[in-house]
Amino acid sequence: MKQKFFLSMILASLAFAVVACGGEMSLSEVDEGATGDSGETPERGVYELEGGTLDDPLMLSSEDVVVPEATGDQPASGSTVRLITHDSFAASEGVIESFEDQTGIDVELITGEDTGSVLAQLILTKENPIADVVFGIDNTHLQQALAEELFVPYRSTLISTVPAELQLDPENRVTPIDYGDVCVNYWKDALDGPPPESLEDLTAHAGDFVTQNPETSSPGLAFLFATIARFGEEGWEDYWQRLADGGVEVTAGWSEAYFGDFIAGGGNKALVTSYATSPVAEVVFAEEPPESPPTGVLTDGCFRQVEFAGILAGTTVEAAAQALVDFLLSEAFQEDIPLNMFVFPANGNAIPPEEFLRHAAVVADPLSLPPELIAEKKSEWTARWVEIVLR
């Protein structure tokens, strides 16, 4: 009986394996020519960026920033590189294809759920990685990813275009690709009186404010970090106590807050935790194109999220993976980022589209916390937050 069961299991598995794996044999191809030693990467000129302001991107002639190839004579051509990313990833049609055409490398795009889910999957499969490159690990998850030793270091040929304050890993295990600020947004017509100008002002609007649970939402977590960065480990609890006393509303995720409680989706809250770039989307995806967005941004108390790409340890196509990371940092991809993912390109030479720059709020003084501190205290902070706000 038992034997029969296992025999049938094997037979069935063979049948499925034949059907399912037929088209994917090329994945196991080992690329002998891969040279992953970052020391050999020729240094390009180092350009100093002052403060990383994007209003004044440094000019490079276009020849400087051709789509780069991995070291050597196209050693990666003909291989397939698997890129895993979260469900917010988006690129215009033809952008990834242009990389494939120029390098002869095939890109297989794998999409997971949110960043936490993708990171969990990478940690689970690190002995037998599911992809070669990951895009979308942000600074709130970075330390955990580094501690698990998920990456092989790679110093991109274009790293010098990235402002120093975005380069959070001195060992180049991850490469910054984009950044954005989590900020409180408000519906302009719904506020009595002037909009809040600081986190302090926000407490007066607590009953009109919806945010997300930091235990279940990435912008919710970022906003909690912003308050901790602003008020310190001693002061943030008191701040949230005031928001809670004022009647702040909390949802599990961004969509329910923005399209549920916030006025944008028919709700009645005038303020919501979202992004500094959300007003751009309110214009681009408006029903009738408005002169100016219906929403405004409280530019004080914003938390800066930086998203990284990393080459996963255990990849068998390291040269192709390096070429892909370089491409993600190249102007061709970077200038496509803003209107697809509504974040700023990390490459200081990439110029976001005009309408993006016009409507995105400029956050002069974004807040941040060291990734090590985040990794150490995150659970403690969110548990405390739950006690203050939800109990």
């Binding site: 329910e256 944008a264 029903e287 009738e288």
Partner: protein
């Protein structure tokens, strides 16, 4: 006799292998990966866990009870009475299955808003219960209705002739005969409610947690697999209790019935007309009103009503980086594959379950367990377990329909087994004595009464897959966006147009499933032109 048992074993091997490879093996792998005895003791002993468990059980029982209460009259009307729009109503009931929870939440809030009840509804346990009834209404109404419609009415007529009143006839004659079908569908609903995820998070709000949302929080947000595995084991214990109770109950009460085509009659008298009205009204309130709110929302554009949201979907100026047509094609491909797998594997399993003795209960229970397993952990388990040849399925698109089929199979089994079991052994023997081969006996004696149940089960399997129900959200997969994923993408960017188009796409999705179910329902018992 020996060859009969061998055939049965061979038949059992296919579904057993399927659930073994694609469910038990991945689940065991992830549980073993995260297992830690001291964490388990700590988690199970934690008073917070007890609170979560209590809420999980309470809301599941309340949701299931209310659903049963509301859906049974609809089942009766669908089974026994002929009225205009019956077939359409029957198909529309399935619509909630395909709707993403975010969309359902928006529809509910829009509805409550127009009723002025938002503040009393939002983030309450009532919101959870209402959404659960909305999602699961069809499971009871359709499954029980399909079985009921085939019950011989002679016993009822005899009871009435002998002087029993309507109520007494129902409680002593009809209801006991319905128990197998009720038990079967109630177990499915209870398992769904027990492990419900999106409804709890979105409609229940941040203050309510169930075992499933806690498993997700620990696995995904905190990446503490040991705690997640401990909670999943606790969940599994309860799931096994539910499964065992239901299979035992269903088996004990199953009596051979002569199932066949019994034409429903037009309602006679005020009482029956009232019954039809009440049944339809319940369905309209439970399913129709939220769906109407959604349709209304999809037509709202720039302060007026128009088809502009639908037109814009086709115009390609949207935030989902995939054309709706491509997403539709992907969704249909997955759904057809999943339905084919669930239909064939499920029918094989149902044949085994209905024909064998005590071991059949355990065998049937095996296929129910995936309904109650944590979606997150199953998705992660598949990544860990199916990662090497000959089963390197991690990046194969087959993994998606296979996972959908795991949820669809129990529907197929549970909607066909009561009918298969009701076939009298003597009828089979008679056919065999008259010279029919086993295959012919199956085809001509067993299969016909099971066809209507099969249509119901296959309809659910299709809807489950089209709605991306279950674990597939947690399966990293090659970019092949489906309609539900396209809706998520629209709802993950600010902008009025995105919201409107998400609603429009949801309406397309629900029209699609209603159409498909209407079509599937046409494959019915020969000779019963009325259903």
């Amino acid at each position: 006799m020996k060859s009969h048992r061998l055939r049965l074993l061979a038949l059992a091997a296919i579904p057993a292998a399927f659930v073994g490879i694609f469910f038990l093996y991945p689940l065991a792998t992830i549980l073993r990966h995260g297992f830690d005895a001291s964490t388990l003791a700590q988690t199970w002993g934690n008073p917070a866990t007890a609170g979560v468990l209590r809420f999980t059980v309470t809301q599941a029982l309340a949701s299931t009870g209310l659903c049963l209460l509301l859906a049974l009259p609809t089942a009766a009307a669908l089974a026994r009475l002929r009225f205009r729009g019956r077939r359409l109503l029957n198909a529309l009931l399935v619509v909630p299955f395909v709707l993403p929870t975010v969309v359902v939440a928006a529809a509910f809030l829009s509805l409550m808003d127009s009723l002025g009840l938002t503040d009393r509804f939002r983030h309450t346990t009532w919101a959870i219960i209402a959404a659960h009834v909305f999602f699961n209404y069809a499971v009871i109404a359709r499954s029980v209705g399909a079985f009921w419609s085939q019950l011989d009415t002679a016993p009822e007529q005899a009871a009435r002739v002998l002087g029993a009143g309507r109520v007494r006839t129902f409680t002593t004659v009809t209801l006991p005969r319905l128990i197998p079908a009720i038990a079967a569908s109630t177990a499915i609903v209870l398992l769904f409610n027990f492990t419900s995820f999106g409804v709890i998070l979105i409609l229940g709000g941040p203050r309510r947690a169930t075992l499933e949302t806690e498993i997700w929080r620990f696995a995904v947000q905190r990446i503490e697999f040991d705690v997640a595995a401990s909670l999943a084991l606790l969940q599994l214990v309860f799931v096994l209790v539910i499964v065992t109770a239901s299979t035992v109950w269903q088996r004990r009460r199953g009596v051979p019935e002569h199932l066949g085509a019994h034409s429903a009659s037009a309602p006679r008298g005020a009482a029956q007309r009232l019954a039809v009205l009440a049944a339809c009204l319940t369905a309209v309130v439970v399913i129709g009103m939220p769906v109407a709110a959604l349709v209304e929302r999809s037509l709202r554009h720039s302060g007026g009503y128009s088809f502009e949201n639908f037109r814009l979907l086709g115009a390609g100026t949207h935030a989902m980086s995939v054309s709706p047509l491509t997403a539709l094609g992907n969704s249909l491909t997955f759904a057809l594959a999943a339905t084919a797998i669930a239909g064939s594997v499920g029918l094989a399993a149902a044949a085994v379950v209905s024909r064998s003795g005590g071991a059949a209960s355990a065998f049937e229970g095996l296929f129910l367990v995936p309904l109650g397993a944590s979606g997150v952990l199953l998705g992660f388990g598949a990544l860990l377990a199916l990662d090497a040849p000959p089963l390197d399925l991690r990046l194969s698109w087959w993994l998606v329909p296979i996972t959908h089929a795991l949820i669809g199979i129990p529907f197929v089994i549970r909607s066909t087994v009561p009918a298969l079991r009701a076939v009298s052994e003597r009828l089979r023997e008679a056919a065999a004595v008259l010279g029919a081969s086993p295959r012919r006996v199956w085809r001509e004696v067993d299969l016909p009464p099971a066809l209507r149940g099969l249509a119901v089960g296959v309809g659910f399997a299709f809807a489950v897959s089209l709605g991306e129900f279950g674990a597939t959200a947690f399966i990293a997969r090659p970019e092949r966006p489906t309609l539900p994923l396209a809706i998520f993408r629209l709802l993950s960017r600010p902008g009025q147009a995105n919201f409107g188009q998400a609603m429009a796409l949801s309406v397309i999705l629900l029209a699609l499933v209603a159409g498909a179910v209407l079509l599937i329902d046409r494959f019915r018992l020969p000779g019963s032109a009325d259903f």
